[in-house]
Amino acid sequence: MVFGRSSRKKRPVEPVTLKILVAGGFGVGKTTLVGAVSEIRPLRTEEALTEAGRPVDDTAGVESKKTTTVAMDFGRITLREDLVLYLFGTPGQDRFWFLWDELAQGALGAVVLADTRRLEDCFAGIDYFERRGIPFAVAVNCFDGAARYPAETVRTALDLDEGVPLLLCDARDRETVKEVLIAVVEHALARSADRRQTATT
């Protein structure tokens, strides 16, 4: 009975899997962005995490252990039979930084989504990826009704390094989201080429 359905099948290809993280404040459009390019409806996984040794808000100073369930959305893009890209929306709250650490391991890059009405919500993401040296691009999600600012104004407000791509996008629009992802990977590629050059000169 057990695995009958699958018997006598050729061995499946084992694709290379890669991931890009999508960070940004609460409600900024992370899940929408993932859904715009994913070949599957964004899936939700839950990770039960033990927050070991972290002080808990209401018992200041007391070390205690607490289990938190964190939901992450993710999507999949099969680029080729042997190359699959996953997109992960990171949980919005800063206090889940420890989950980002796990997600960020081996990530090829990240998108920080920003909303010009609440620009400060994306600071945590920018700080995080800068500090870990993870290549990222900032994408300003242009909500209807929000004032439009030139990219340069936003760049200055965010104090972004020169090489960090900054794009305007509509998280619902597949084409603009594709552009954002391409910018992330191109940036990762440029950084990798730079590093190689530094290493050989």
């Binding site: 084992e14 890669l18 839950e46 893009i77 680029l79 190359l83 992960f88 796990e102 081996g106 090829l108």
Partner: protein, 132 residues
Amino acid sequence: MSEAGQQGSPHWFDDEAGPVVRPYAMTRGRTSSASRHRLDLIALVVTEPAADDPGRDQTLAPEHVEIVELCSETPQSIAELAAGLDLPVGVVRVLVGDLVEDELVHVTRPVPPAELPDESILREVINGLRAL
């Protein structure tokens, strides 16, 4: 003080763990499979030829069987399995660890932490995205 580094040795949730305890009953309380590193969310689970053999291991739980069936169609990532089976990622890691021990599946290793995929792969990703 920190228990974050206890990978490799099985441990049990305490009573305060509340609603997360239920799914862990399936894994007999283990939250990480003994002697295995933490499986990445995008690690792919690929079935071994032995998994084609029906009823080989009578100790498998229905969830184990479900994982094997899902992966024998196409290899699935840990994240996809968790979403597909509606189980927390930690539980899926344990179940997959069991299947690896039974040699019914193996798990691909994604790019190691702190290393970027090589440039030719990045170029292929760019081309792939452009072609979407």
